[in-house]
Symmetry: C2
Subunit: 338 residues, 2 copies
């Protein structure tokens, strides 16, 4: 496990008043869920299901697929590690720069890893291709048709497609029904991102029954605790109350990008709420991060530990307009000073 | 992962009024913890620490050891799987019959497994010895001095000693301070059992810094969710409020054993609150289990899926005296009928 993951607000506690470091929309009213959990807290007195089958069945029902096509895990992260375990010692290609966990899981399970910048570069005899769509940290999406074509053209390669941020983009992505019908695809989804509950740790994988069954054999029991199971049930029942305004978040992201451009800070042409930015003139993201925390209580993601990136890179996820204005003001101040 | 773990009360819901199937004392007042969690529920909005370092430090402080000697995990179960992973492909000896997870974790990580009935039978060149002390399902403890001698006499073998039930016995066991000073020992502890919170999934391993560091490299981030971290902090602060009356539970267990003896049901001479029992005359635990659920809302543990046991075995954990009386009455009725 590496340190330096996105939301390290736990390190700074109350000093952080505006969190741009997580890709998750922070503007969500959780009061109903919190009330529900408060009432359900006595559930800690009994063991959870060894496998969260009840939630798997409910997710399958919502998605219109069979429960054997769904595996609920301790965050999508557990599904990443279980898949890396099943294909232990294989040849993996990771579309980079991207979420660090694919690389770490492959390393722990002895994969030989090649970093590629597009699906056109998949090496021969690749066991697993890992990609995030929309991609973290760039926010860019891969065209769904060309992705489906690539998956079909490489039947001996398993594609792990992490759609954790699917609700934050307007671009068409793969559907769970499609994933359930493809033999060499694992589609990862995250309740963390969909419902903005990163503290709960609950996500799921969708794929053909055979692949889900094989990956499932690597599971340990009780990996999802009972409070997460209860919360997941509530969120599935009330999913309509959790609307992510992808359009506004996306346009706000581009408004920030325009302001950064004027400061000679380049950034990726994102399809969702977050993007990757690069500082000019040898300025470092860690210096910027420290300044923003100290002067404005703003947390950004130092992106220098993403494979292939250097210390000039950072990641921003758009928040409320007034918060985004504050970020722009703060960036102007720092760029003019430093 | 196998099905058929101990507390499968989730399968029966409100039909279960008396749960003898879990080894955990159910007679615990959790109201203060539940109130605390209700207040803390908003913590689901932020990521937990990738590693629960804050809890590791607090446990280390309580135990008088260094935080690098402690690894907090998603239940002791995660520590079992991480250890099996580190020693992947090794030769394991499991002191049986015992908790199923050692065997399952070894199978998933390609260990060759030998089942032994005592520490005297450890085969040559054994990589890992797994034992539970007090042992689940028998409740019997291994003498601490002979255990320490065996560990010292086999420096090339790592001993995984699961003391999840340490608070339920009066017998002297290994201490965390001892474990931190031994190079070939991993001591597993469970907050689940100590505080009767199986729904939370939080436990920890103690060992020398090198072993904890090597096992820690196998960890995925965020495996312990934020509600479990908050709860663990509360429980550590209020541990004095959680007293397990091991003496009474132990004597109640022996009172039940005496009553069973009169019914020709033999049982293990337990050192704690639970024991393994064997039905006479080809009667099966599954028939008994069904009868107890249907007629009395009593849940017992069908122990037939423990390695080396058959369908005549079941496990009982003593509960409140009046509940134990009810169990004895129910058993008398079933034995006279069937």
């Amino acid at each position: 496990m590496i340190d330096g993951h996105g939301d390290d607000s736990f390190r700074y506690g109350t000093r952080i008043r505006h969190n741009f470091s997580t890709n998750i929309c922070s503007d969500v009213d959780h009061s109903a869920l919190i009330d529900f959990l408060a009432k359900k807290a006595a559930c800690i007195k009994s063991y959870p299901e060894p496998r969260p089958e009840s939630i798997e069945a409910r997710i399958a029902g919502k998605l219109g697929i069979d429960k054997d096509n769904v595996m609920v895990t301790n965050g999508a992260t557990e599904a990443i590690y279980l898949t890396a375990h099943l294909f232990q010692g294989g040849k993996s290609a990771i579309v980079s720069p991207t979420f660090r966990e694919y690389q770490d899981a492959c390393a722990i399970y002895g994969h030989s890893v090649t970093f590629i910048s597009s699906l056109a570069e998949i090496p021969a005899d690749t066991t697993c291709v890992w990609l995030c769509n929309p991609n973290n940290p760039t926010g860019v999406t891969i065209d769904r048709e060309s992705l489906l074509d690539t998956v079909a053209a490489n039947p001996a390669t398993v594609f792990i497609v992490d759609q954790a941020y699917s609700d934050y983009t307007l671009q068409p992505l793969l559907t769970s029904a499609e994933a359930a019908g493809i033999n060499n695809l694992v589609l990862l989804s995250s309740l963390t991102k969909r419902f903005a509950v990163p503290g709960l740790r609950i996500g799921y994988a969708v794929g053909c029954k055979n692949l889900m069954s094989e990956i499932g054999k690597m599971r340990m029991p009780w990996s999802v605790n009972q409070l997460a199971i209860e919360a997941a049930g509530f969120l599935l029942d009330h999913s309509d109350d959790y609307v992510i305004d992808a359009r506004s978040l996306h346009s706000e992201a581009h408004r920030i990008r325009k302001a950064l451009e004027e400061l000679e800070i380049t950034s990726t042409d994102t399809d969702c709420n977050f993007f990757l930015a690069k500082l000019p003139h040898g300025k470092t993201a860690s210096q910027l991060k420290d300044f923003l925390i100290d002067s404005y209580g703003i947390l950004i993601r130092d992106a220098s530990n993403f494979e292939g990136l250097d210390e000039s890179y950072f990641r921003i996820a758009s928040q409320r307009p007034e918060e985004n204005d504050l970020l722009i003001t703060a960036l102007r101040e720092w760029m003019s000073q430093s």
